[in-house]
């Protein structure tokens, strides 16, 4: 179980002493992922998904807020002591090629963390070999033909599987998959998604799925949570299916409206939401971050910041003063 409250992260861009620039990547994010559970973060490019994922995986520090892993508040621990906790949360990178060391064979890649593990638990070299084969089998690869290979001798899909296998060597409690399929050929994407889902079901590994493609979020399982992030803030949060079929925040709605419709198979929603302008990075003063692009914004939106919360008749949390259901999602055409 991992929860985060009020996570804030600001990047100070290094430059001249005379001109400093700040990027507010996260502005107080709350989340909670149960053991063996699933969650997805979706949002536009640059909204802070990766940053949050990295913070959760312990690869990045945050400025404010608290991360609690298995009831232990990370802020109460020294950085060294946090390591074992964060080791149980493994990150799966977007680019499977750069995630593997080109000079090391797959076996060497798996061996290093396994050896560490063997030393900690007093197991021998044979165990390492066995375990290496085992994790490869778990991700659907044939150990015999893969172990001796170098990364460049594998296809993108296989590489991504190896990356997942490597994460499994430390028996993680959670995998953080950051756009784990966006670099993989269309025809193979589903395979990886299915693998993650499968691992979740068989091994009870929680999965945190980071993507800009809303549809893929569905593949981690219908009990999963969906967090829609806009400019470092969660603006809608609920069960995946609820949010996708009944979004209430205009931003979520515009995201869903933007998904191309497979004309001929689907028919578009009747109330598509189109934002007023492109993403603007300027800081709004106090108001809703989306207000300037929101077709439905009012006076109030530009002066007051809506907090994430619930409102009557809406099952999911949202950060909008005027939650309203709109028909934005494409539906399969009947008869096909």
């Amino acid at each position: 179980m991992i929860t985060g409250t009020g996570i804030v992260k600001t990047f100070k861009q290094r430059g001249n002493v005379l001109d400093k620039r700040e990027v507010r990547a996260l502005r107080g994010v709350d989340f909670s992922i149960p053991k063996g559970g699933a969650a997805s973060f979706i949002g536009e490019s640059g909204c802070g998904k990766t940053t949050l994922g990295r913070i959760i995986a312990g690869l990045e520090t945050h400025d404010e807020g608290e991360i609690v892993i298995d009831d232990v508040a990370m802020s109460s621990l020294k950085p060294k002591a946090r390591q074992p906790y964060f080791r149980r949360i493994q990150m799966i990178h977007q680019d499977p090629y750069s995630a593997l060391n080109p000079t090391r064979t797959i076996f060497q890649t798996l061996q290093a963390p396994l050896r560490l593990r063997a030393r900690q638990t007093g197991r021998d070299g044979k165990w390492i070999d066995e375990r290496a084969s085992e994790v490869l089998s778990l991700v659907g690869l044939d150990p015999g033909s893969v172990l001796g290979r170098y990364p460049h001798q594998l296809s993108g899909g296989m590489r991504q599987r190896v990356v997942i296998a490597r994460a499994l060597t430390v028996d993680p409690e959670m995998l953080v998959a950051d756009e784990a399929v966006s670099m993989i050929d269309v025809s193979l994407r589903l395979g990886i998604l299915a693998l993650l889902k499968d691992l979740r079901e068989r091994l009870g590994v929680a999965v945190l799925f980071i993507t800009h493609d809303v549809a893929t979020a569905r593949y981690i399982g219908d009990d999963g949570d969906l967090y829609v992030i806009y400019r470092g803030q969660v603006i809608e949060h609920g069960k995946v299916d609820t949010v996708i079929s009944d979004p209430v925040h205009p931003y979520t709605q515009s995201l869903l409206s933007a998904i191309p419709v497979l004309h001929g198979l689907e028919q578009p929603g009747t109330q598509p939401v189109v934002p007023l302008s492109g993403l603007d990075e300027s800081l709004s003063d106090g108001g809703c971050l989306f207000a300037r692009r929101c077709p439905f914004h009012t006076e109030r939106c530009t002066s007051e910041l809506p907090a994430l919360g619930r409102s009557e008749g809406v099952p999911q949390e949202h950060a909008c003063f005027y939650p309203e259901r709109r028909d934005v999602v494409a539906r399969p055409m009947s008869g096909v």
């Binding site: 312990g58 690869l59 080791r87 493994q90 990178h93 560490l116």
Partner: protein, 298 residues
């Protein structure tokens, strides 16, 4: 599992690294020549001096003798064989180059790795230092230093040159480290809790080895030239059978720039340096292509 079906053909397509090296070498015979030249110099330095007595025979009646079968590059102002001096001198040059190389790599790569890996404050401080070091002109500094230290031996010489020459390597290694850090596999290794020793020793260094080697070669070349140059200027204590001293004596003692008698004496070390440079250039050219896909022509 069906993904594996095409494996064999892929594997055969992928050339293994050394075969790639061989291919790059083979494509231009000049590159082979480069390797041969460098090997030649190494052999010359390692076993060449063994063929000559500790003190070369001299002949006061054959000063600045012309080129002959007996004296391939004539004789010097003492009537000693120039070729023999060249061979003996190569040991000093290459030994100091070796020491320089080792130090540049150890210090340069060490600092570069540390700096790129730690980032943050350490990085800033170290890189400011490196920048500074790179800004201070090496040769004038050496000139000034030569008055404080006497570079007694090749090893001492290499030591000083190495300590002055690590800047370039450090910077190169740092930027490489920084870019590798961005690569997922380093971050993954950290996430898996692997030790820093493992990350640096097993993940970073092997990936950068060729890159470091190339930078080292460049640094070493510069050091060799600085060293010979200092002797040539005559600001360092005299060393018998030293290339730079030969240049110095040929020009300022033998009048090689005025008359022809001492010309072979001047040309011998000049040609040796030229050839050494050529060898290094050709090898670096090959390295360039092996490690820089951009230059890898079709």
């Amino acid at each position: 599992m069906s993904e594996l079906i095409l494996e064999t053909s892929t594997a055969s397509m992928r050339r293994n690294f050394w075969r790639g090296v061989w291919r790059v070498m083979k494509r231009k015979p000049s590159r082979m020549a480069g390797v041969v030249i460098l090997l030649g110099f190494t052999v010359m330095a390692v076993i060449g001096p063994l063929f000559y007595p500790e003190n070369l025979p001299y002949d006061p009646n054959a000063k600045y003798a012309p080129i002959s079968w007996e004296h391939w590059f004539g004789t010097d102002g003492q009537g000693k064989d120039v070729w023999a001096q060249l061979v003996i001198g190569s040991r000093y040059v290459l030994l100091s180059a070796l020491v320089t190389g080792v130090i540049t790599v150890v210090v340069g790569a060490g600092l570069g790795l540390f700096s790129g890996f730690k980032r943050g404050r350490w990085d800033t401080v170290l890189m400011r230092l490196t920048d500074m070091k790179l800004t201070i002109p090496g040769l004038p500094l050496l000139l000034v230093l030569s008055t404080v230290w006497s570079f007694g031996s090749a090893i001492e010489m290499g030591l000083v040159l190495g300590l002055l020459g690590w800047g370039g390597v450090a910077r190169a290694v740092r930027s490489q480290t920084l870019s590798l850090r961005e690569r997922g596999f380093i971050e993954a290794a950290r996430g898996l809790g692997l030790s820093t020793t493992h990350i640096v020793g097993k993940e970073l260094l092997p990936t950068m080895a060729p890159y470091i080697a190339m930078n080292m070669l460049v640094a070493v070349t510069g050091a060799v030239y600085a060293q010979v140059g200092l002797f040539f200027l005559g600001v360092l204590p005299y060393e018998a059978d030293n290339w730079g001293v030969m240049l110095n004596l040929a020009v300022f003692g033998g009048g090689a720039m005025t008359t022809t008698a001492a010309l072979p004496y001047l040309l011998a070390p000049l040609l040796a340096i030229l050839l050494l440079t050529l060898g290094i250039v050709l090898v670096v050219d090959a390295m360039d292509e092996i490690f820089n896909p951009r230059l890898r022509e079709e």
